[in-house]
Amino acid sequence: MTQQMPEAVFWCLALGLLAVTVLLVRQRGITALVRRRNAELADGLRARDEEVRHLASVRLPALEGGAGGGAGAPGAAEQAVPGVGLLDPRLEGTGFAKSVDEVLDRFAGAVEQAQARADAAAKAALKTSMRAVQALANEQQVAISQMQDRHDHPGVLRDLLEIDHANAQFGRRAQAIAVLCGSWPGRQRAASALTDVVRGATSRIRDYRRVEVHGHVDIAVESRAVEPAVLAVAELLDNAARHSQPNTKVEVNLRAVHNGACIVIDDAGVGMDGQAADRASVLLSGGQSVDVTRLDDPPQFGFAVIGALAARYGFGVTADTRSPYGGVRAVVFLPSSLLTHVTEEPEPAPAEPDHAATPQSAPPPEPQPATESATESATESATESATESAGASATEPAPPSRDAAPAAQDAAAGDTTAGGLPKRRRRAPQQSRSAPPAELPTADEASRTAEETAVRMGAFARGTRSGRDARLDGHDEGKTQG
């Protein structure tokens, strides 16, 4: 019994030991597994943490920056976002990655919306304020013009010209910003000659004295396109003058081409490098709307304005060639649809036909009087001579006694302008000076005989004599009294 006891204990212990060993081994395996999984999970967690930090510190700023800096290089926003992807490739395709992408999308949408709203608000605010400024500038221009009319002193004129110049530039700036914000150029002009369009543009830049206009083409720009063309050319001229030395000239050439007309602007300035030229050509094409909140600082909106105008009115502007003087050559192409050939004002249409209908005997200096009233002059001179020979017109001295041409002139002078004002007939100095005195005696002899004149002179002499006698009498009376 006592021998059996230790054996039993031994077996029990052995069994227990075995079990413990098995358990220990198993436990160890489980522990290792758990530890491994734990490490894996911790790693995953760290990866996600890193990923979130990466999202916040790199990806979202990249998106922001891409959207914000996209004004210069269009499409930068689209390129920048895919460039910065997930930090840890293991997370690709997981739900977490999908959520992160969703966050990114939401963020991008919000940014875009905020930008659009900011742009719209900025545009609206700028537009209304610039329209007000523009209206004031126009008002002031009218006032300045009236002052220029009123004052005839060179000193006053000099000051007024300076004010006028400043006002014109100021108006252009306001107009350019308003156009960029989607407004219309704002002034309705009559159809104007191409030369006047260029000179109108010259009026609105600072260095207007440096602009030289060459080439005379007999082409006018249609009324609706005048103001936009003036504004576009003004911006180009301003760029040209601003980016070249003050002692150089800005040369403008006007050319009639098959499909329209070209305004070629050459400067002798610094020119543009490849990147600037690319950017300029994108802006000048006017393909995309310009975001006013993304203009550089200081804002450079010249090309953007030109592009907007060109796209809206259908003319073309390029600035990607070098000028022969080393600077930039900008070419404004106006298609035929924007051009007209009206160089005459529309009002004189009624006067034109009879001028054209009777061209047979028009003397070159004064075509109209002679052609207009050949019959009138004949009848009138006849009646005039009749009344004069009757001697009844002693009280009216001068007018009809000249030859037929001036009589016709008088008749022509009777007609009026389209505005209802009487037309003044032109006095030709050489003729009026030499011809009438030579003709005078014959006219007089025909109208009044020497006897009649003698009778009248006699009456005049008698009257004078009696008047003198009366005065002499009065004097005598005075003397005797005194």
Binding site: S203, E344, P397, S432
Partner: protein, 122 residues
């Protein structure tokens, strides 16, 4: 109306006066007033003149016009037109003369009558 003034009237606000005079306000001579008559020289070419000067010459070609009338036709301020005219006088395109008193022709007539009357009295 003269052929020159029948031309299209330029839009007043488009080309500003300082561009027309190239920034100058003082005419090179001060002999001009509103009624000074301008007579264009026929033989000089118009090349090299700006459009306003060219128009001014066209206006004056058919005969004489006063400064005020030219300013009206060009729709420019008189003082600006004076600058242009002074330039044209310097280049010999235009000669000026004081206005003709309007009573002169009738004076000659009256004198002729007086002469006739005296002759027949004596």
């Amino acid at each position: 109306m003269t052929p020159g003034s029948r031309r299209r009237r330029p839009d007043r606000g488009l080309v500003r006066p300082y561009v027309v005079t190239e920034g100058r306000a003082c005419p090179t001579r001060n002999t001009l007033d509103l009624v000074t008559l301008l007579i264009a020289a026929d033989d000089l070419p118009l090349t090299g003149l700006n459009p306003e000067k060219r128009r001014l010459m066209e206006l004056c070609r058919p005969g004489a016009l006063s400064v005020a009338e030219v300013a009206g036709h060009l729709s420019l301020p008189v003082s600006v037109v004076k600058v242009l005219i002074a330039d044209l006088m310097d280049s010999g395109h235009i000669v000026t003369r004081a206005a003709i008193p309007s009573a002169q022709p009738s004076d000659a007539r009256i004198l002729q009558e007086v002469l006739d009357g005296l002759r027949s009295l004596l």
